[in-house]
Amino acid sequence: MKLSILVNEGPYQHQSADTAIQFTKAALEKGHEIFRVFFYHDGVNNGTRFAVPPQDDRNITEQWTEMAKEHNLDLVICIAAAQRRGILDENEAKRQGKDGDNIAEGFRISGLGQLIEAGIQSDRLVIFGD
């Protein structure tokens, strides 16, 4: 089946991102297609490369990046939510006149339309949040 995932909370503060990662892994192992993972609300904070969690704990952003590499996942950060919360890619940084960016490898920033498209194109949309 074709599945899409919506992540609505940032990493660590809530378990949502962890559960989304475990669910996505399991779905891939079962041979399902992940059409898209969309990050909305504080979920956009999953996509910062500036985080340095303690060595003895998991690194949520790296887990996403690794999964994206291995399975060619489409990790999309909502542009409107990202602007509110300070997640930038190079283009956005330029457009907003900011002096740097912080998006992590494997993520891209795009519009809310990508979430609706995921809802239209996928057999199931599963939401993780608070």
């Binding site: 809310l112 339309g113 609706i116 809802g119 239209i120």
Partner: protein, 131 residues
């Protein structure tokens, strides 16, 4: 991967989307960012239904004035939904009543459904986005 929905608008399937709003406005951002999804979604010409239940009924309470809390008042936007052809707005009866509200308290015309009717309505959907 850029903007593939531009085609979908014309050729894609029409699916039954339901947006379930269960949280009060301002205490958290979910109400506002849910509304932003609904406005974008309108361009996709899907079959859209909005539900306000639990504390979500407070989202469409009349007379919101946010001057003193320093946050933008987004409640007028609900009145713009009709212009986007988003016209199926449901409110749960039990949620209204337990909060001492009636439809006269709301900024937009809505259909009132009870708990069981709402459960059936949810089962008729294809995609449910709950905020």
């Amino acid at each position: 991967m850029s903007e593939p929905w531009e085609d979908d608008e014309l050729d894609g399937p029409v699916r039954k989307f339901m947006y379930v709003n269960r949280r009060a406005p301002y205490g958290t951002i979910y109400a506002l960012e849910s509304l932003e999804v609904v406005l974008i979604a309108a361009a996709f010409e899907q079959d859209v239904t909005l539900v306000f239940m639990d504390d979500g009924v407070y989202q469409i309470k009349k007379d919101q004035n946010t001057d003193a809390i320093g946050v933008k008042n987004f409640s007028p936007t609900y009145r713009a939904l009709e212009g986007y052809d988003v016209e199926k707005l449901y409110v749960e009866k039990e949620s209204l009543e337990s909060r001492g509200l009636t439809t006269d308290d709301l900024v937009v015309p809505v259909q009132v459904v009870n708990n069981d009717q709402l459960a059936e309505l949810m089962e008729e959907q294809e995609v449910i986005l709950s905020f």
